[in-house]
């Protein structure tokens, strides 16, 4: 992995009034990488992405994006970045074609007409080119927005929840496209709330209340949390036991050794950091019930739910700096 760093920032801070929204963010993303940006609502993902492409000025911090200074060179960064906003931000009262044409003009795309026509073909919107963008369905708006930020062949894509509200087929197509672009050397930073999408990223970052709590590949993040996970399920088609599972989950949450209980269909995932104590504790509770337990490798979702609940190791710090 000697690919050059496309994003290399450190110590980024952002305040809105008295609220410290992004705290000492440090990020390194390599060329051609698909980097997933995760975190609960309001954790500062959008704010961070905006700072990377110069739409917000960081209060402090330094770094480079595509080798250009994020603080001083935002104009030159913009022309090489494709930024897809979380909220649809193309013009509702322009047609699909007019929107694409406008964006193409703004980025001085070579052979503009052909580029727009090709994009319309690829989107499958050629027949509806004169439809106003505002009248598209939510999913189609997302697809149009993505297409528009690819028009100028950017070197870096910053995608803010690009697949929110997009149907599964289109989502699959979208990720195929992302991987194709990544193979062609384009770097992608994508924020998402979907675990299956997180698993498709090369590396991930977990942001919570403006702090980067975890960063690395999916395995690194899971390993770093030292989770021991047990799957608890009813013994063979025991309907009664299955109905008892939710109550049982509440009982498990009382155990001091249990950090997290999550329902997965007809099973429960129970995680804790101390393997021995967790095992004996679970066995004691399960004894005599119609339930069985078996160890499973913790999934990314287990890890993130764990992160979201806030571990004592990373107790959320009060505001301020």
């Amino acid at each position: 992995m000697a690919a050059p760093l496309v994003i290399d920032v450190s110590g980024l801070n952002k305040h809105f009034g008295h609220r410290h929204v992004v705290k000492n963010l440090a990020l390194q993303v390599r060329e051609g990488e698909i980097f997933g940006f995760l975190g609960p609502n309001g954790s500062g993902k959008t704010t961070s992405i905006r700072m990377l492409c110069g739409l917000l000025t960081p209060d402090s911090g330094q770094g480079a994006c595509l080798g250009l200074d994020v603080l001083k060179d935002s104009a030159r960064i913009k022309s090489q970045v494709g930024y897809m906003t979380q909220r649809f931000s193309l013009w509702d009262d322009l047609s699909i074609e007019e929107n694409l044409d406008f964006i193409a003009r703004m980025f001085s795309v070579a052979h503009r007409r052909q580029a727009v026509a090709r994009t319309l073909e690829e989107l499958g919107l050629a027949a509806r080119r004169r439809q106003l963008a505002g009248t598209l369905s939510g999913g189609w708006k997302q697809r149009l927005a993505l297409a528009s930020c690819l028009l100028h062949r950017p070197k870096l894509l910053l995608l803010d929840e690009p697949t929110a509200g997009v149907d599964p087929q289109a989502r699959r197509d979208f990720w195929e496209e992302i991987h194709r672009l990544s193979a062609a050397g384009i770097t992608v930073l994508v924020s998402t709330h979907y675990m299956d999408e997180a698993e498709r990223c090369h590396r991930l970052a977990w942001l919570s209340a403006g702090q980067l709590l975890a960063c690395g590949t999916a395995e690194e993040i899971i390993d770093g949390l030292c989770l021991n996970t047990w799957e608890i399920s009813a013994r063979q088609d025991d309907g009664i036991a299955r109905h008892a599972l939710p109550d049982f989950a509440d009982k498990l949450r009382q155990l001091p050794s249990v950090d997290m209980v999550a329902s997965f269909g007809a099973t429960l995932h129970v995680s804790g950091r101390n393997a021995e104590v967790l095992k004996t504790g679970l066995e004691a509770v399960l004894a005599g019930s119609a339930l069985q337990m078996r160890p499973v490798p913790p999934s990314l979702e287990d890890a993130f739910i764990r992160l979201m609940q806030g571990s004592p190791l990373h107790a959320p710090q009060g505001g301020g700096d």
Partner: protein, 376 residues
């Protein structure tokens, strides 16, 4: 910031095309742009052009004689004046002040004698000139009455060199006596101020409110490209409005343009720029469309009240004149009156041109300074 002044014509063209497309789709705005000037001009023009009659008139009679009585009878017959009675000078003043009468006619002592000797005695007419349009018809009748009433009694008068009476008109409350013609420069200036400041004021806040500003900011378009791209359509709109107003006033009200039409358009262009720059500044300062409207009104009201459009400029107190002098509309009104009514040229108008230039420059600087290149 070198980037501030980089300018790409193709990007600017892109913004221009986008603005035109959006304007074309916004039917209501478009209707407003064309409709407002015409409707306003018709409303004001016709409302003020009416030729009111039966205006209450008081008489101060210092010399009751047959000539005076004949004159009064003729006034009554003209249907312009309703005589409310004879009063003394002080009462007459009070009546005029209270607005109970519109005219006070004073026949001085010796009126009859002087008239009989052909010495052209003065006839003092005090007129409430707050509505100058209303009194113009009545005053012209008065002047005409002089000859027609006394001609039968004083043979040879019709050819007499000095007119039989010396009609002295005091325009009270509005010494400048703004005339019907003034309504065209006024409407022109007010409509340009209103529509242009309002629409450019909304131009940027609308993008911000709809969230499209984020998309625009993420492109390499520079502030100068965006500002000029957004302004051009409104310059064209402004010129269109002026043309509409000039055409309407020419063909409907028969008001001619005495001065140079090209000069008028250059001045209009300058005034449009001054207003657009201000609109752009407002639009960068305002957080949302409502704020932008409020700021526009905050600017619009003094423009109407203190520019000489509503009240005679010279009659305003010093502080009001000072504020008025800082407003582009004040100077524009004087410039347009000069060109339209007096045929003034560049040299005469210069004292009112440089304030407009200064205003435009200051507003442009403020607009570029306040243009936010980020979302914070």
């Amino acid at each position: 910031m070198g980037r501030f002044f980089t300018f790409s014509v193709s990007r600017w063209l892109g913004i221009l095309i986008k603005e035109f497309l959006q304007l074309k789709r916004d039917r209501l705005t478009f209707a407003m742009i064309v409709g407002i000037p015409v409707v306003q001009l018709l409303l004001f023009g016709f409302a003020i052009n009416t030729d009111p009659r039966h205006m209450p008139t008081a008489v101060v009679m210092a010399d009751p004689g047959p000539f005076a009585r004949a004159y009064l009878a003729a006034m009554q017959n003209s249907s312009y004046f309703d005589l409310v009675g004879s009063v003394d000078a002080r009462e007459a003043d009070a009546l005029l002040d209270e607005g109970r009468v519109r005219f006070v006619i004073t026949f001085p002592a010796g009126f009859h004698r002087d008239l009989a000797r052909g010495k052209s005695p003065p006839l003092l007419v005090e007129a409430d000139a707050t509505d100058p349009m209303a009194m113009s018809g009545a005053l012209s009748v008065l002047a005409h009455l002089g000859t027609s009433v006394f001609a039968p009694d004083l043979p040879g008068l019709a050819r007499a060199r000095p007119p039989p009476i010396d009609l002295r008109v005091h325009r009270r409350y509005n010494p400048e006596g703004l005339t019907t013609y003034n309504i065209v420069p006024g409407i022109m200036g007010v409509i340009l101020t209103m529509t242009l400041v309002l629409m450019t004021g909304l131009a940027m806040t609308r993008e911000r409110e709809r969230g499209t500003f984020e998309c625009l900011l993420a492109t390499p378009a520079t502030p100068l490209e965006v500002l000029i791209g957004k302004i051009i359509p409104y310059i064209i709109i402004g010129l269109l409005q002026v043309t509409l107003i000039l055409a309407a006033s020419r063909w409907i009200f028969g008001i001619p343009v005495r001065g140079s039409l090209p000069l008028l358009y250059v001045m209009v262009l300058l005034f449009i720029c001054a207003n657009l720059m201000l609109g752009i500044t407002i639009s960068s300062l305002a957080r949302n469309q409502l704020q932008s409207m409020q700021m526009t009104i905050f600017f619009f009201l003094p423009s109407i009240l203190l520019s000489g459009f509503m009240f005679p400029f010279q009659a305003m107190p010093g502080w009001a004149q000072a504020i008025g002098n800082a407003l582009p509309l004040t100077h524009f009104l004087l410039i347009v009156r000069g060109i339209l009514l007096k045929g003034s040229g560049l040299g005469l108008l210069w004292p009112h041109i440089w304030p407009l230039l200064l205003f435009t420059a200051v507003a442009l600087a403020a607009g570029l300074k306040t243009y936010r290149q980020t979302l914070d």
